[in-house]
């Protein structure tokens, strides 16, 4: 639609400059009306299933009932205060921070390493790329079920291979000190291949002539990486970091399948906490309040990172 517009509009405006402002406005609306009409179906669904649901969460977060048989009543910000005061929520936030940092850094590092190694296309690198991308194609739930058997204490694949080396076999998912890290390994395994794709795309954008010039000037591989490739990849980095953090908050399938937040809440993440409040505690008010807090944090984070990104791209 927008592609067709400029061809007709400039002609019309140049014929009658500034004199017929209302007419121009009407003309513009007329011109973009089809666009809005075409957007309408998606808008209906967006309102029904996205904004509608968000609005509902906002309303639900403001209501609570005192006892099981009592009617729900307006409580203002009490639900949010209750969530913030809940030790289970603060431990879920801490777990989530550890989880976000502990999965984002290794998976991005690995992804960059893979991308740099496999940036040139030939038969071997294509095969390796496909192999590294494979975990992305496996649904998280299926992957979790697989890893449950890998992590089985004493008889699992992992213990089978490293069991000989350790005096006492760890109970990977049953020990609160280890469980979160076991969960993190799965996330890194699953996401590194995905982020590799972005870095591969980013590497295509590194200008050939600059690289050649550097080569001629005698810059070594490390210098080229440090002074050309990494600066060129900055936007990719920012984008991948945002995606990685969003994933750390929104992907909890494996927690659901493997540990249910246990043992003793050691793998409880924020989204799973919300699920527990809504389903196990049947406390819609508190669940909605926790959802709002999470949404606010995520939106703030995304806005911040995209602003930084825009600044960097606009700058020198």
């Amino acid at each position: 639609m927008s592609l067709a517009e400029p061809a007709t509009l400039p002609v019309a405006t140049s014929a009658a400059p500034r004199l017929h402002v209302p007419k121009r406005l009407v003309g513009r609306i007329k011109a973009s009306l089809p666009a809005y009409l075409l957007l309408l179906p998606s808008l209906v669904f967006l309102v029904l299933f996205t904004y509608g649901a968000m609005g509902r969460v906002l309303i639900d977060a403001l209501y609570q009932r005192a006892t099981p048989k009592a009617p729900v009543r307006f409580v203002g910000l009490d639900n949010i205060a209750a969530v913030l005061a809940d030790p289970a929520f603060s431990s879920a936030v801490v777990n989530n921070l550890v989880y976000a940092v502990g999965t984002a850094i290794p998976s991005i590092g690995l992804a960059l390493l893979f991308a740099l190694t496999l940036s040139r296309t030939h038969a071997v690198s294509s095969a390796l790329r496909a192999a590294l991308f494979l975990p992305v194609l496996i649904p998280m739930v299926a992957a979790s079920a697989l890893f449950m058997f890998i992590f089985l204490p004493n008889v699992g694949l992992l213990d089978y291979y490293i069991g000989r080396l350790l005096p006492v076999l760890p109970n990977w998912l049953g020990d609160p000190d280890i469980a979160l890290y076991a969960i993190m390994i799965i996330t890194i395994w699953k996401n590194a291949g995905y982020y590799m794709l972005f870095f591969l795309a980013g590497l295509q954008a590194v200008p050939e002539d600059v690289m050649e010039a550097a080569h001629l000037d005698g810059a070594g591989p490390y210098q080229r990486l440090r002074h050309i490739i990494l600066p060129e990849l900055k936007p990719t980095f920012l984008f991948v970091i945002v995606i990685a953090i969003l994933n750390a908050v929104t992907q909890v399938d494996h927690v659901f399948v493997m540990t249910q937040g246990g043992p003793s809440n050691s793998t409880n993440l924020v989204l799973f906490y919300i699920y527990q409040q809504a389903v196990e505690h049947y406390d819609v008010g508190k669940a909605s309040a926790a959802t709002l807090l999470t949404l606010a944090a995520l939106m703030g984070l995304t806005a911040l990172s995209f602003r930084t990104m825009a600044n960097r791209e606009g700058g020198p």
Binding site: P34, L37, P153, N154, D175, E280
Partner: protein, 447 residues
């Protein structure tokens, strides 16, 4: 011209979408002919159950032309509760649900269940006659405030599984399984094999993951003379008591004093795999795993009652059929017909053989097929015999969070991070906090 053609196309798209939407909404209009009902059913153990359920419902529909039942698979027990609650909230409850037996009280408190007394009365039977068909142990979870809210469908109890070959190897007689905690401790010690500090074969494995852990704690507490919760009132649990302290201390001793049980919390599937692979010589697990063990064990095994310290007692597990609140009368009646058919002796027996759960209807065990089956599989008989000492499954206001407060602490004990006494005190405190709103409007609401 280009615009208008695109516009027409866009409008056509939009209107076709709208038509589809309207069509989807218009389907549940009044339908003549058979009463259509939905049955929500979970699959807690393995995928084969879904196929068996299809067979069962098809047979029902063939025999009842005025009713058209559809079986809707709804995931685990917990998922089934979520989906049922969502459907009730949306104003379109399913007509019948196979619900985890210990969720009934919580649903009744939330006004989500149909009281079945009127339907029983309409059939011309009394409550006593109706409940009399089922094993007495199962009635506790189906009756709330002397009204019937659920019909037992498939049930289980915990069992002690023994690797008979390994027992013989260790000079123990599998025909005389351990009957007390002292004997079990002794067996577990003899069945544990070590190479230096490293254990290559554990004497016993007891599962501890959310849901299973609470059930095993109830098992151990009951065989230690305790109750775990107040069977008559949903606002009390007995965590910080001598009977539970003894139970948790013994479990702790098996891990850290006798060193015959692997440390840490081990989920059910890990326990059964460990037993099947010979890594654990004994395990405590549900009767629901009996079919799995029978099909996969490459050694002779033996099942026995859960040993006692004070008395023989175990909780039941499994699910009941319920009718959600807010249904039209004709659907309610059709659901009731389905429920009575599914819990009849013949169907109950068939389902039991297909799944490994025991049949709640006592008459099921008098059917010729079942007598035959038990003669061929005497291990299935042990599960039924243990029902004599079985008691209800814990059910309180907010059953799951109240259970979880205990499980979190037990997991800390099994990981050597807390001592039983302080763990139980903490669990009791957290549980009391969760139960507070319910007590505020029942036991503590004073004139």
């Amino acid at each position: 011209m280009l615009f208008s053609r695109r516009l027409v196309f866009g409008l056509a798209m939009a209107s076709s979408l709208a038509a589809t939407l309207a069509g989807a909404l218009a389907v549940p209009a009044m339908a003549e002919g058979p009463t259509e009902i939905d049955l929500f059913f979970p699959v807690p153990v393995d995928g084969k159950l879904a196929r068996d359920m299809g067979t069962l419902i098809k047979e029902f529909n063939d025999g009842h032309p005025d009713i058209k039942a559809t079986a809707v698979y709804t995931g685990s027990y917990d998922d089934t509760l979520i989906k049922t609650r969502a459907a009730i909230k949306a104003g379109k409850p399913p007509s019948a649900v196979i619900m985890s037996a210990n969720f009934l009280l919580d649903m009744q408190i939330e006004n989500e269940l149909t009281n079945l007394d009127a339907l029983i009365k309409a059939d011309g039977t009394t409550k006593e006659q109706f409940l009399g068909q089922f094993f007495p142990a199962l009635q506790g979870n189906a009756v709330i405030n002397r009204s019937v809210y659920g019909v037992p469908f498939h049930n289980s109890t915990p069992l002690l599984y023994i690797n008979a070959d390994k027992a013989k190897e260790a000079g123990l007689d599998p025909a005389k399984p351990p009957q007390t905690w002292a004997e079990l401790t002794d067996w577990a010690k003899k069945l544990t094999k070590r190479e230096g500090d490293k254990v290559t074969q554990w004497g016993i494995a007891i599962p501890c993951a959310y849901d299973y852990c609470g059930w095993m704690m109830e098992t151990l507490t009951m065989s230690n003379g305790g109750r775990y919760y107040n069977e008559e009132f949903g606002g009390e649990v007995y965590y910080d008591t001598p009977s539970m302290l003894g139970a948790l201390s013994w479990w702790n001793d098996l891990v850290y004093k006798h060193k015959v049980h692997a440390p840490g919390a081990t989920p059910g599937p890990a326990v059964s795999t460990s037993f099947i692979s010979g890594n654990a010589a004994m395990m405590m697990l549900s009767t629901g795993s009996l079919t799995y063990v029978r099909d996969n064990a490459k050694f002779n095994y033996k099942v026995a009652f859960i040993p006692r310290n004070v008395r023989n007692a175990v909780p039941i597990g499994g699910a009941s059929l319920i009718v959600p609140a807010g249904l039209e009368a004709d659907k309610q009646k059709a659901a009731w017909t389905l429920i009575k058919w599914m819990t009849s002796p013949e169907k109950s027996a068939w389902w039991s053989r297909a799944t490994g759960y025991f049949a709640p209807n006592m008459a099921a065990y008098k059917t010729p097929e079942m007598v035959d089956f038990l003669n061929k599989n005497p291990d299935a008989k042990t599960a039924v015999e243990q029902l004599d000492v079985a008691k209800p499954w814990f059910a309180t206001y907010k059953t799951v969070p109240v259970r979880k407060t205990l499980e979190d602490e037990v997991m800390l004990v099994l990981n050597g991070k807390k001592q039983p006494k302080e763990a139980l005190a903490a669990a009791q405190k957290a549980a009391d906090e969760t139960l507070k709103p319910y007590n505020a409007e029942t036991s503590l609401k004073l004139p």
